[in-house]
Amino acid sequence: MNPDGIDTPTAQPSWNTRVKDTIRSLERDAELMLRVRDGDQASFGLLLERHRGSVIHFLYRMVQSRAVAEELAQEVFLRVYRSRSSYEPSAKFTTWLFRIATHLGLNSIRDGRKESRQESLDQETSEGTVRQVADGAPNVEQELVYEVKLREVRQAIESLPAKQRAAVLMHKYDELEYAEIASVLSCSESAVKSLLFRAYEHLRLRLAHLA
């Protein structure tokens, strides 16, 4: 109650809203997948739209090749579709999705399917637009600094063992909790923490100077 005696609603913390949104989102995924199980291909299209980005980005950072990442991502969704008749909403849809993606990503790394890792300035940027380098020393310098930083980050991630790499990517970019990562990697939560802390220790040694 404010000094004028009027009740004003207290602002909800943002994390509360995020939690509710997350729950709604998870329920929506399960609902859509159940419809796919019943033969509704349009619902599969909606699931594709909701999750293709995160799957492709995860696989891109795993294998560091756009073409391979998209090919693997297609395979992920193909496998989801193939398994539609046996789907049960016992686990989160995203856990299942990332389990398939991680499995394919780890296989790809093991099989050594890679294309050129280096992106030249003439190629598309990760935002999909061709990078324009304007005349003028400061912009060129900033671009070069950025390129060096990006290269170091990519190389640092690539230097991680495959499972540590997958754990870090899911933790950092997909914001999965330890329990979910454990479910994806089919290991215990303590094993995931061990993977992550070793990975971050390695990354601190390689990237702390970039601060």
């Binding site: 297609q74 980050v153 970039l210």
Partner: protein
């Protein structure tokens, strides 16, 4: 708050702090400790630097025809013939079945060549031709006979019309 690094909880707490995932109360308590503990402060700063560096790695743009390609693959799979489906079930998943088609065609060609040269088939082929040859021979013989007949008639008529020479 005790020292997280010393009491073994450091890694998880520092990682969460670096990711800005601590609730406000935990974060302020840790930051109070960081002002007093150089090793934790160094660790926390390094972790935040890592987090910030990882933020610099942007996502890629998804190909505009990605969904189309997925649905195309689904449609292809649904149109797969029973034979290729059977083949896929029995071949190891990592094998590609594509080489089977040219190999199968090569085997079929070899089998066909063998059968053509096989003595089992040859009598059939010669016997098929035999009636044809016989018919041709008969036709020729009949033609000859006609010709001979005509010659024979002419000579008789010639004899009939020409006087007998002494």
């Amino acid at each position: 708050m005790g020292c997280p690094v010393e009491d073994g909880t450091g890694a998880e707490l520092i990682v969460a702090y670096g990711a800005r995932k601590l609730d406000p109360e935990q974060e302020s308590e840790l930051e109070r400790h960081l002002t007093l503990c150089p090793s934790c402060r160094e660790l926390a700063q390094a972790q935040r630097a890592v987090w910030s560096a990882l933020d610099a790695w942007p996502s890629i743009a998804v190909s505009p025809n990605f969904d189309q390609l997925v649905f195309h693959r689904i449609a292809n799979e649904q149109q797969r013939t029973p034979f290729t489906g059977w083949l896929r079930r029995w071949l190891p998943a990592r094998w590609s079945w594509r080489p089977v088609v040219p190999v199968g065609a090569a085997c079929a060609a070899l089998i066909a060549a063998f059968l053509l040269k096989s003595p089992v088939l040859q009598p059939l082929t010669s016997s098929e031709n035999q009636p044809k040859l016989q018919i041709e021979q008969v036709e020729h013989a009949l033609d000859d006979m006609d010709m001979l007949k005509q010659l024979g008639v002419e000579s008789a008529s010639e004899k009939a019309h020409s006087p007998e020479k002494i």
